[in-house]
Assembly symmetry: C2
Homo-oligomer: 359 residues x 2
Amino acid sequence: MESLSVDLVDKAGSRSYPIHIGAGLIGRGELYRPYARGAVAIVTNSVVAPLYLEAVKKASGATAQIVVADGEQAKGWQTLNQVFDELLQARIGRDGLLVALGGGVVGDLAGFAAAIYQRGIDFVQVPTTLLAQVDSSVGGKTAINHALGKNMIGAFHQPRAVIADVATLDTLPERELRAGVAEVIKHGFALDASFVAWLEGNIELLLKRDAAALAHAVKRSCELKARVVAADEREAGERALLNFGHTFGHAIETGTGYGAWLHGEAVAAGMVMAAELSQLMGHLKKTEVARLRELVRRAGLPVKGPALAPERMLELMALDKKAAKGKTRFVLLESIGRAALRADVDEALVRKAIVAAAQ
Amino acid sequence: MESLSVDLVDKAGSRSYPIHIGAGLIGRGELYRPYARGAVAIVTNSVVAPLYLEAVKKASGATAQIVVADGEQAKGWQTLNQVFDELLQARIGRDGLLVALGGGVVGDLAGFAAAIYQRGIDFVQVPTTLLAQVDSSVGGKTAINHALGKNMIGAFHQPRAVIADVATLDTLPERELRAGVAEVIKHGFALDASFVAWLEGNIELLLKRDAAALAHAVKRSCELKARVVAADEREAGERALLNFGHTFGHAIETGTGYGAWLHGEAVAAGMVMAAELSQLMGHLKKTEVARLRELVRRAGLPVKGPALAPERMLELMALDKKAAKGKTRFVLLESIGRAALRADVDEALVRKAIVAAAQ
């Protein structure tokens, strides 16, 4: 097991938390015990429950288990209220601990439930997808969706610990594994050139679910993300760099209807578009764009976006911007491993980048 | 206008906020302007809107107004979702400002909406009831109710400012004014003997809504509450002293069905019970209990609880305890102005105190 620490800006001590990474961790009681001041409740979904609920229950000493539906639809009011009903019926108090066992949806939902149940209780993330292990379980962002926008209702609520057990990835469907790899690639290209080199040498091992390779990819991703989150917990600036590929990616997800493309797949194609845009703006070399394309391809991820006209993509990005009244900002690459945030991007170049990515 | 400051424990600067107290403040644009980085939305209810919405709209430059139903029922999911729908339709962004214009229900609801809308936006409290001005608008507690418990879902989210305009109290129904006075009396008896003496000399002026008397009562209450909140934002200890009269009071509210007794009325009778208990335990003198009874009576508030058997009261307090898995702790008085938290209270004495209070 390897452990690293997320140290948050206001160094009040209690704001730091460990991320444990390794194989076979979910059954280790000592990883839960420090946070179980009162009763423990597990929130998981109907797919993960048959696989890992018993082990986590035993290790954590949980007395309540809340099994929600699988899928993005569970990230809404109704499921959130189901969680509250069951927490209250199980008499979980302010000293209770909530264990989020599952992928990004369970982590976001259960984390948000912990953030607002009795004005906030402790929670531990036990991510069981690669996407959740390398991305969503770290950083304290929790949320549910609203009919008018994804993740529109939420809170910053840091977990007390993250237990990333790479052995749980053995049961992950192939397509979801690859979608998780997209965020791993993102961390490399946005923040760490040497991690990109490591990925170029180990991508096949990762896809074969080699435990050591997975553990390294999770660890390095978490280190990179933790560093950024520590510097910018509330996403005022630097944290936005983690959104490399996401401006285009969100447009792809919305344009194709949520669920048709997995988030990681949309991000993969979105990264290629963002890289082409970076090249058109004179930052990235063509050979560097080619390295991204090649790694995405080897990961079995889409290099090209869906059949959406560039005009439609621009429209979707503008809509996305308006919904939250933010500015359309692009995370561009100055070089591999060095992302930068830019708001002053010419629309004609964006159109050109979308066309170039489709070649 | 008088202004005081709530300074929170982690002195990060941005965590402090002003409370402005005076007559005719809601129309002063300069009190809103420092916080209006983006669009401004007002949340109010159907009773307050016809009275003060236009003035606040003009002063704050609000472009959106959300009018919810009046009453405790509005503190639920449905109304919260109404607020989110309208905030999103009005395209209020992360830089938006929410103005909570109304009593405790609006403050709790709108404050909670601000806490979780897009993971938290700024808000300003404009309390228009005495209860909200002296109590609920200060301290950052926000919440909605759940079918299984009041204020079960919520967040700590401090306002950027509180604008307590005592002129708005002119339109407050008599009974609600008196209910607010209960919390003023509570602040005195729990925390400040000289404030009790002032109240004994000025209670009639307060009830006549003399602006200077109201402003002093609001200011002193806010000062006392702000001091406690600053020392204990998350209610680990000292903040519980503000619950003097509330353990009994909650039992009265639940036992009579929410709404039959106003919160302040239940707290008034609850304070007498808590004082009797303090006397039975040898802390408070009989003459001190008599002073509380007399002030409560002069304020037109109930000295005696409802016709609930002591056994039923004990049962309700135990239920209250179990719901949140907390311990039944009593806030007792060691003397006037010196409250203390006690968990080791003999049940027989509690029964006796309830009986004594009914004499």
